[in-house]
């Protein structure tokens, strides 16, 4: 089975920074994987995703996507739509006038006809339960709605794997649940970066972490609960 993503010994330092953000990092993502990544802020998670997509070039190391080596922009370009990257800020990803336009953007670029793109877009919106949003203006949607539309826009390209960068940030519990249900219901591999243990635990099979610019796989890390004390503990309460 060819891995979808294969990073070997990737080193990346931001220009002007002292320490590398990614330090001889190895990562392999196979078809069927549903993996979460939990790590503190500033550990380089978003840089990792950008490196996979070829949006930033590492100083050393090798990248293979779908088995083929990736070194130049023209190699990355046709492969990007096969990996659906969901950005942290949905406003960065929804740049067309209406929802339908945004969801159809991917298919149109991939060569679909206007008719075909429109149909694909409608189908995806239907699948995510937001069919009524077709003609809505993107900047007027709520945070949760934008997230779903962004997901639709990415799914419309029929990617083989999703890369999600903090998909639940800024969402309320209900939308998180919807997102959770959608993801588990999809027949697609994904790699999710998130702070939220409950969410990641529900939708993924394994959890990785990042430390000192490298990936720590699930054998190396341990997720555990802490005991704590506070007043009024005997009354029903809820920790976030």
């Amino acid at each position: 089975m060819t891995p979808i993503v294969e990073l070997k010994q990737i080193c990346f330092t931001y220009p002007g920074a002292e320490k590398p953000v990614l330090d001889h990092l190895d990562l392999t993502l196979n078809p069927g994987d549903r993996i979460g990544l939990m790590a503190p802020n500033g550990s380089g998670k978003t840089t990792l995703l950008h490196t996979i997509m070829g949006l930033c070039r590492p100083q050393s190391g090798s990248i293979r996507l779908f088995g083929a080596p990736m070194r130049e922009e023209k190699q990355f370009s046709p492969v990007r739509p096969r990996l659906g990257l969901l950005f942290q800020d949905s406003d960065d990803q929804l740049f067309c006038p209406t929802v339908l336009d945004d969801v159809a953007f991917g298919p149109l670029n991939l060569g679909a006809s206007r008719q075909g793109a429109r149909q694909t877009a409608r189908q995806v919106l239907e699948r995510l339960g937001i069919a009524g949003f077709e003609n809505r203006v993107t900047h007027r949607l709520s945070g949760g709605q934008k997230r779903l539309v962004a997901l639709a826009a990415v799914l419309a390209m029929s990617p083989e794997m999703l890369l999600l960068d903090e998909p639940t940030s800024g969402l309320d519990t209900q939308v998180k649940q919807t997102l959770s249900d959608i993801l588990t219901g999809l027949d697609i591999s994904y790699f999710i970066i998130s702070h939220e243990f409950d969410f990641i635990d529900t939708v993924t099979d394994r959890i990785f972490s990042m430390e000192k610019g490298r990936i720590l796989s699930d054998e190396q890390i341990h997720v555990h609960a802490h005991e704590h004390v506070h007043k009024h503990g005997q009354h029903p309460h809820h920790h976030k």
């Binding site: 950008h50 997509m53 739509p81 990257l85 950005f87 740049f95 159809a104 953007f105 670029n109 206007r114």
Partner: protein, 252 residues
């Protein structure tokens, strides 16, 4: 900063955006180039009629017309008193010029007419439709792309600005005519540009991730309406007719 006329169910809202754009361009120029107050007046009446057709309320129209009214007040103060031809009176050292008064009348009629026509015809469609219509009318792709993308992010950036300003206020910022205020506003404006530039980079990356191949596409959606052609002919006819009268008077 939203456009309250964008969506509506009036007759005008249902017409093909391309027709509306072409009529707006044609009628605006025709009105701008009229030579007689009666002609300009005719366009003003046409403008008022179109506003009616678009079911635009006076409430919504007021904030649009107000800055124009201020401008007209300035015109009426300056032109009759500074123009040098056809002096008809002298008020406390200042000459009153009939040419100035005449031009003021023309400007008033023309500008009001054009604002009304433009609002009724163009402001009554959402930006998405305007962009598509412009594309279909063969306006260069890059320009349409620019317009749509700029519009898309205006609201995002405005929110960012309001947040920054509020943060400054919470730290005791109180604007005045002093260097500190100007510097603060300069930094606010600067921050807007910085964030805009950084966001642009991310949006560009997002476009690349969805296979952007540097070409511009739209999903053409045509709304059939049998009144389209009739309206177009009616507007062209009215415009040509009024212009004809204008020209005949000029050359008689």
């Amino acid at each position: 900063m939203d456009n309250p006329f964008e969506s509506g169910t009036s007759f005008l809202h249902g017409l093909d955006p391309r027709i509306r754009i072409m009529c707006a361009v044609f009628l605006s120029f025709a009105a701008a180039l009229s030579h007689y107050p009666q002609v300009a007046g005719a366009y003003l009446i046409l403008g008022m009629g179109l506003v009616r057709l678009g079911r635009i309320s006076w409430q919504n129209l007021k904030p649009r017309v107000k800055p124009l009214l201020w401008f007209l007040v300035m015109i009426w103060i300056f032109l009759p008193l500074t123009f040098s031809q056809e002096i008809i009176a002298n008020i406390g050292g200042l000459n009153l010029s009939m040419a100035g008064i005449r031009l003021s009348i023309m400007i008033t009629l023309k500008s009001l007419a054009i604002v009304l026509m433009f609002t009724a015809l163009i402001a009554t469609m959402p930006m998405a439709s305007l962009g598509k219509a412009m594309h279909q009318l063969h306006v260069p792709d890059k320009l349409v792309f620019l317009l749509l993308m700029t519009y898309r992010y205006v609201f995002v950036i405005q929110e960012e600005y309001l947040r920054l300003l509020r943060a400054a206020r919470f730290r005791g910022f109180s604007p005045g005519t002093n260097l500190h205020s100007y510097r603060t506003y300069a930094y606010l404006a600067g921050m807007l540009f910085v964030r805009a530039s950084m966001r642009a980079r991310r949006v560009h990356q997002a476009m690349l991730c969805r296979g952007f191949d540097r070409r511009f596409y739209t999903l053409d959606v045509y709304s059939p309406n049998r009144w389209n052609l009739l309206f177009f002919i009616a507007m062209l006819g009215a415009g040509f007719g009024i212009t004809l009268i204008d020209m005949l008077w000029m050359y008689s």
